[in-house]
């Protein structure tokens, strides 16, 4: 799920950036530093939408750098265990992508009546052939586990539940 939240960060600024454009320099450095990063707690920072407040700077001993506490609003993407969302299949086996997050759906978490067909266009198909999951399909899945490492969040999903599964097949669309 995407959220709009307020985060705080201490920004260190080199004295050469001081002057009339201090604030602009601070904001552009903040965007460069923060956008695109990921933390386990807040998820992926997609975009900064506004600066709430820039606090008083504090000169660092010995270096001349100044640290400013900056409060900013941003759009983050944070997946939660138990959340249901829609995602696009990227790789058979299969993996799906919801924005910046990769979600793996293992064989055990795919309904039993769907079977894997290998070949040039690998896919999962039901025994009667009515439903097919392949690359670029859109699926609705439930996140059942998340793993967080320093720069990425990785999810395990399931489509073995009511109202989950394919919502759009690229070949029939």
């Amino acid at each position: 799920m995407f959220f709009h939240i307020v985060l705080e960060r201490n920004m260190q600024l080199h004295p050469r950036h001081f002057g009339r454009n201090l604030r602009e320099n601070l904001v552009s450095k903040l965007m460069k530093d923060v956008e695109g990063t990921c933390s386990g707690r807040h998820g992926f920072v997609v975009a900064i939408t506004g600066i709430e407040n820039v606090g008083k700077g504090l000169i660092r001993d010995g270096t001349g750098f100044v640290t400013f506490p900056v409060k900013y609003q941003c759009v983050v993407f944070r997946p939660f265990k138990g959340e249901i969302l829609e995602a696009a299949v990227t790789m058979m086996g299969f993996f799906a992508e919801a924005g910046p997050v990769q979600i793996f759906v293992s064989n055990h978490l795919i309904p039993d009546d769907m079977e894997f067909q290998s070949g040039d266009m690998p896919n999962y198909t039901t025994s009667d052939g009515s439903v097919k999951i392949q690359k670029d399909s859109e699926v609705r899945l439930k996140i059942i586990g998340t793993r967080v490492d320093a720069t990425e969040i990785f999810c395990i999903g399931t489509i073995k539940d009511d109202f989950l599964g394919v919502i759009n097949d690229p070949t029939t669309a």
Binding site: V45, K81, I84, F163
Partner: protein, 146 residues
Amino acid sequence: MSGEEEENAAELKIGEEFLKAKCLMNCEVALILEHKYEQLQQMSDDPMNQVSQVFEKSLQYVKRFSRYKNPDAVRQVREILSRYQLAEFELCVLGNLCPETVEEAIAMVPSIKQRIVLDMQTKGRAHDDDAIERMLNDLSLIKKFE
């Protein structure tokens, strides 16, 4: 982390911080990111170089999975859903997935049922289903007239 309850969106356990935060539906995120992308476009010739991969992927994702494209419709969805005393998170899941039946809505957002039962213990289950049904009807109307 010590003492922290395991998260589970189905029971609305998403942590204090996110529970209070404003959630965004995919269609709202699409509006925000597109606006930001346009701003970047005016500043440089090659905006795709300026943005992070996370931004790019998110923009593609929300464009593909937005139920409502028109900004007025997006506003209406939020307005209508907010009449039903939903948590922000529940509101956005419903707005994103647009379930068609009451059963589906409850499967998508199990916490809505618990909440309504808690709030209206005396009124019984039938009424809750009615409320959800009305909500879904309102939603599908917006889609139809978009």
